[in-house]
Symmetry: C2
Subunit: 732 residues, 2 copies
Amino acid sequence: MTSLRPQAGRQPGEASQGSVSGGDTVSNAGDGFERLFNPRGIAIIGASSNLDRIGGQPIRALLAAGYCGDIAPVNPRYETIAGLRCYPAAEAIDVRCDLAIVAVPAEAVQAAIEGCGKAGIGFVIVLSGGFRETGAEGAAQENLLARTARRAGVRLIGPNCQGMVNFPDRVFAAFGSITGELEVKTGGVSMAFQSGGFGFAIVSLCATEGLGFRTCVSTGNEADVTLPELLEAMLDDPGTTICGAYLEGVPDGRRLMAVGRRALDAGKPILVWKGGSSASGARAVASHTAKLAGRHEIYRAAFRQSGIIEVEDIHEMGDLFKVLEGGRLPDGNRIGVLSISGGSGIVFADRATAAGLDLADFAPHTAERLAAVIPAFGSAANPVDITSGVFNDISLFTRALEIVLDDPNIDQLALLLASIPGEIARAAATAIAGVAGATRKPVLVAWSVQRARAEQAYAILEDAGVPIVPTPVRLASAAAAAAVYAARRRSLAGRPPWPGVGDAKGVASGPTGAFDERRAKQWVASAGIPVTRDAFVARDADPDSAVEGLAYPLVVKVVSPDIAHKTEVGGVRIGIRDHRALLDAIDDVYRAVSVGAPSARIDGVLVSEMAGDGVESIAGVVNDPTFGPVVAFGVGGIFAEVFRDVTYRVAPFDAATAREMIAELRGRALFEGARGQTESDTDALVEALCVLSRFAWAEREWLGELDINPLLVRPRGQGVLALDALVVPLGA
Amino acid sequence: MTSLRPQAGRQPGEASQGSVSGGDTVSNAGDGFERLFNPRGIAIIGASSNLDRIGGQPIRALLAAGYCGDIAPVNPRYETIAGLRCYPAAEAIDVRCDLAIVAVPAEAVQAAIEGCGKAGIGFVIVLSGGFRETGAEGAAQENLLARTARRAGVRLIGPNCQGMVNFPDRVFAAFGSITGELEVKTGGVSMAFQSGGFGFAIVSLCATEGLGFRTCVSTGNEADVTLPELLEAMLDDPGTTICGAYLEGVPDGRRLMAVGRRALDAGKPILVWKGGSSASGARAVASHTAKLAGRHEIYRAAFRQSGIIEVEDIHEMGDLFKVLEGGRLPDGNRIGVLSISGGSGIVFADRATAAGLDLADFAPHTAERLAAVIPAFGSAANPVDITSGVFNDISLFTRALEIVLDDPNIDQLALLLASIPGEIARAAATAIAGVAGATRKPVLVAWSVQRARAEQAYAILEDAGVPIVPTPVRLASAAAAAAVYAARRRSLAGRPPWPGVGDAKGVASGPTGAFDERRAKQWVASAGIPVTRDAFVARDADPDSAVEGLAYPLVVKVVSPDIAHKTEVGGVRIGIRDHRALLDAIDDVYRAVSVGAPSARIDGVLVSEMAGDGVESIAGVVNDPTFGPVVAFGVGGIFAEVFRDVTYRVAPFDAATAREMIAELRGRALFEGARGQTESDTDALVEALCVLSRFAWAEREWLGELDINPLLVRPRGQGVLALDALVVPLGA
């Protein structure tokens, strides 16, 4: 791992890290975040002589950590604090400070920021709370802070945050438990958190499991600097090899996606844990598409589209940091497994298979060569049980590793070492480090022994960059996630980025008012998606001329601005085979609706040709406040609601993305001709989804929701057909 | 935790633990496993003077651990080993040994067992490998060992196992890494493993996270003593408070279920990790039911039916040990959450909600009282964010705990402490211990700080029996699993046990030969499940008399012993409305089948009344080699295969069990009248499933597989109707 520790002779904050960028205002801060992460001096506004207090904790931590820039406490009540000269105001500081930590009461924060601006300080971390989190008045105060900072030429982190730590440079510009974590190993992991206490707990626990950290920032209320902006700055930091974030929401989803794509280009994975999934799904909206779309599912789709890796627990995040930070990715999803205990191979296989890895059969040559190395009571098939007997002759262990890694059917290798300790562990580690150095394939280790019982072995593997995870199941999950990430990276490489970062969203200009089925279908047809041939018959009109040219069998559906679910009020008749039956059906519909929905305004009926065979799907659009237009696609009919088998992508997108959507459905086999059915026209379906995504983007200024339900996917060669549609403009 | 450490003056192995049972032979071993777990002396047959070797490791471990019984090495080549008198043969031992460890080459094991029998030793642990795991010849040798042991009056653990450890009594009768784990804390957790190396790695890792252990046994090939038998013995052991197992398969599934039910009665939870799920599902069988039934799903159903808790990773197992071992269970699934960091409350809520817990609203009174305690920037709704500010006055923290625990809407309380260290942690721990002692509700803690940074606080909570888990998400999973276990325990309390432990399984006596639809439906009807009214029309017979009394519309289906999937060869016509159409349909079917299945023998057609409305389901039976008859129930039609929404229960069972099956389906809403459909007759469905389960049990000697597909579940009051059926006798 690259170290950020200052070279001999270099001053803290000296710009040795290459150019950085990310700021968008001309300011004291310059055009990047280098001076935030690695300031030449730090002012503490509201410094406390009680080093247990919030205004004292950063001073104690900076001193204890050995930060080698200037520390400038600011408090008019003291001459010195902890032996440091204390200044009466920021403007009085006579050393070079790039960063100020503000720990004053909420009402004094604005003045503190102004003072920092005058003092030429570029970055201010506001620890103080009492703003947006307390209600509307606090939010107004917070907006004022942001404007003040902009005028003062200062970039503002927070308010209501826990600060920032740069471990290699000993910048402990924070309060709380992290200020006691002085022994955290330095490394290439940088993180940003929308919950400081929780974020620093992640760091603490991951450090316990051996991870090394670089820069970690608690973003608080994000009045000015946002989490995506900090992630961008971390991508630009040469010492950061991998990034992580805990977030609960971003105002501009497409900016986060752009950061994800930039991370793919930079070769630095971003792991994101999105909190708040359980609050989703409760929005009261009219269309099925929108009902099915929880906000979390849209974030998840955006992560997939932009190569961001989603995680859902601290251990999962830590394990993936370890597996990915070395930069080795598997070329495919085939994994070879060597265990010294049968059970660990089995549980690894269980989880790995469930997560999509393939415990591939070895090439015949491999099996022959392994048989010469493994005891009779072991197993030479994948997962290999080499048994602990191989440690009687460590060269046998080494041979087994080499043989499996040589196999052309294997993309990565997992070694399951149970809890071997001491000298055997050291010998095994030496062998693994040697073999790992001679291959490009990832070599991963699961090992449950306490570090204290195998100190040397851990050090050997860590020096060799071999990831160690404590359980076989966690290793299987991490290896599978790495394979998914590698595949996504390959697949996303050639795709166009999405438009719309920072773009204005819907403003409700464009079509307004109620959309009945006729009008909705016209928009669907105009988008380029085929709709059923049909004719409107007004309430008192003669149907004969209207339906001329339509081919029997026909369907009759009531047209009313007041009826959303036509079937439920008896407003639909199907399978009409002749003229007589058509007239009866129209009468039937009017009669049923007068009972089922007595107060509804009835415009007339829509007479449609009945569709032939096909698989019913549902395709739609929601205009999400964070991501803008999003396309949904899923299994149709009653099963859409019962199984919620729906997938999402941010619009617009290409055919490869549409194919991913289909492949993600649990019910994808329906389109492949399950159980003797005809194979569906998935090419036409892919085209329809792409067309819909472009339409959703083009009409984003007014289109709130769109449902094509059902979208009939007909047999190969026959295309798709929209049987019904619903449109809801923004603001309706 | 009760300690098994010998009292002053008591001899090791003295039967102070109450009566135990479990053995089923009259033998040296007596009638229980007390002398295995706590032997008065231990012989090591094949003792090695090199204490690194398998025959030396137990000697070194027993000496180092301070085992206070006699250690009797047996090896004719030595006078002494490690200062201990070495005997030439087991028969020569002149101290009281209850247990022998055998570490000799495979070919010498039989003689060693015989020697132990003569020496009056009751239990033999055979570490030696080279038996069943090497193939057919080894299996024959192993059978011989089992017979030898029975004749010699010896109970045999293994062969090919890693031994046994009783931590409180310092019995390290094992080899491998566990022999170095002398510092493992003693406690109430006992475990059995079908993979020794992996099992002891579980112990090692759980111990690192603070769990205390009692007895752990590696069962190896189980030539004699089986894992369920050992679990029973552990349930009988007064010092064991909770049991765990890693298993890959048992020969008699109903015996394992009986152990589960006994554990419920004993108030000692059993956690089982079943390895091998990924090997399932590949059996080539004829019926849909059997195709859908992976072996793992049947084990999972059996666990649910018998109150066994299934786990799938080491951490999950360790966390549940902690949460359950104190014996406090929540009365419902409502949980109150107090965090000092907003993010941890959110991720807890995400996982808890997904796992079925309810973050219930507090009673109005609670919210009022909390508002007086929590800072303005905190949150008094569940999950409560008390903020780290409450530690400025620890009495506020204590008050907040008490207020939430008092709330009648809360069944348990989770405290999320992020990574607070040192003195604050100690104060918080003292407050938590005090409050936990004054309530019957479970109080659980998530805490990510390194133990070294909060040693005192950990000790205070552990002494108070308050479980500590390192992450909020893991705590949410464990709390949810505890609530599920508690509910299952309440629900299983009154149910009858299953018959059939050790019962003879199917012997293929009874009906044989091919079952066409007619014959299969007769059996279904005889079981008490309504079938469609239908008539068989032989190939050249006149249909008119046969169909007399059937009401149109009708269905015609080909009857052939060679056609399993009638629709796929054109062998079905539906919606036949009159006599003319019936004759046409019969002709059509013959013509289509002569093309679609030209070589099939055609007996005739079955003419059935067409069923009305209803939800298509699939109900069936598989006769599992491990569990005997098992009933499957799932969503029907094409979706059965696409979504595999199927659930299982071991037969026979009662109505409550049948209701659970329906409730477990993802598609359960189909039966509740989803999206305007009529509510189904679930009472009739429940009755049909119970009837089917009794039929499956009664006919187990010959019934291999049975499919009712579809079983139409009609609207409330109209019952269920079997539209088609398939029966496959055992051995067909």
